[in-house]
Subunit: 132 residues, 3 copies
């Protein structure tokens, strides 16, 4: 059970994909297992954080930008090494537990695709491993 999904991003930002992942779960009608949400890009990432107050992800992007900043001694000719760095710090995938047909997430948790070098046409994968 593998699904490739798509999104269009802005310059940078946290894109909440929780409902898109839930939709895949329902489509495959899986009761129990795990779900891997994977980002196939090297200047973006996947993370889980608060999805209630949008100021949280706004603060996170602000902090990421200042701490993992561009440097004059970076050599990568494309000039986006800081976006690769943020991608590494964020991680390329998240793994979420599936139980009773639902994602097991905390009250405040949402799954985010995080763009650090847009705007771009991006994709991500939802892979479900069902527990037999």
């Amino acid at each position: 059970m593998l699904k490739k999904l798509h999104l269009s991003t802005g310059k940078e930002g946290f894109y909440d994909v929780t409902n898109a992942v839930r939709h895949v779960l329902r489509e495959y009608n899986v009761s129990s297992g795990i779900c891997v949400v994977f980002c196939p890009h090297t200047t973006a990432g996947m993370t889980i954080n608060e999805d209630a107050d949008p100021d949280v992800t706004r603060d996170l992007m602000l902090a990421m930008g200042d701490t993992f900043h561009d440097r004059s001694d970076f050599r990568h000719a494309e000039g986006n090494s800081h976006a690769h760095w943020k991608s590494m710090m964020t991680g390329s995938s998240v793994t979420v537990i599936i139980d009773k047909g639902e994602l097991v997430l905390g009250t405040w948790q949402g799954i985010y695709f995080v763009e650090y070098d847009g705007p771009r046409q991006r994709s991500y994968y939802v892979k479900i491993i069902e527990e037999i």
Copy 2:
């Protein structure tokens, strides 16, 4: 095979849950597979690091606090955006291999629940996917 476990945390700290995870493994009598240890909170995380010298996690918490610090330009009204940031940097889950009925961990590795915004009553999940 899914287990929800609980712990009471202090203001901040690394809580070694390795033996608790091993206990779940034995309870379910799993020989081979993987184990996902998942934190359902957005101001805490899960990581793997040294569990021999307690000065290591003491140093890690010190370094995390200074680098991923609070900022006057954070907007999130609850005032704990730096804890959300540390949570994002730490990660929401770890995946550990199971072989011959044991967790496959290195000599110095332990699994930690990391609190960044306590004291709180916290929980975490241990999900086992058995290899058939």
Copy 3:
């Protein structure tokens, strides 16, 4: 399906293990599932990032070293707390999707074992969970 692999590292560096992981995949002849690549060391980690221009990982190591630096107030007697910190920031494992017998990686992605405290003889594990 579990394989332990070995590598000799220098002082620090990104070691591309993508082809080694692919080799394990072919050896076991797996069509569909997930693959967990796990680092059993606490001063090294696993990550996924660009494997086209070697300047990217060179820039990443430079940035990691300056941001997650040694401190005079670290107490761990071995003197390598900054390497433990980089290990925590990098993560102990990556999870990659397997489809049609291949790793599902983006065009520019490679899997890296990252050394922060070498030179050492290191190992890592490739665990495959096949989808039935």
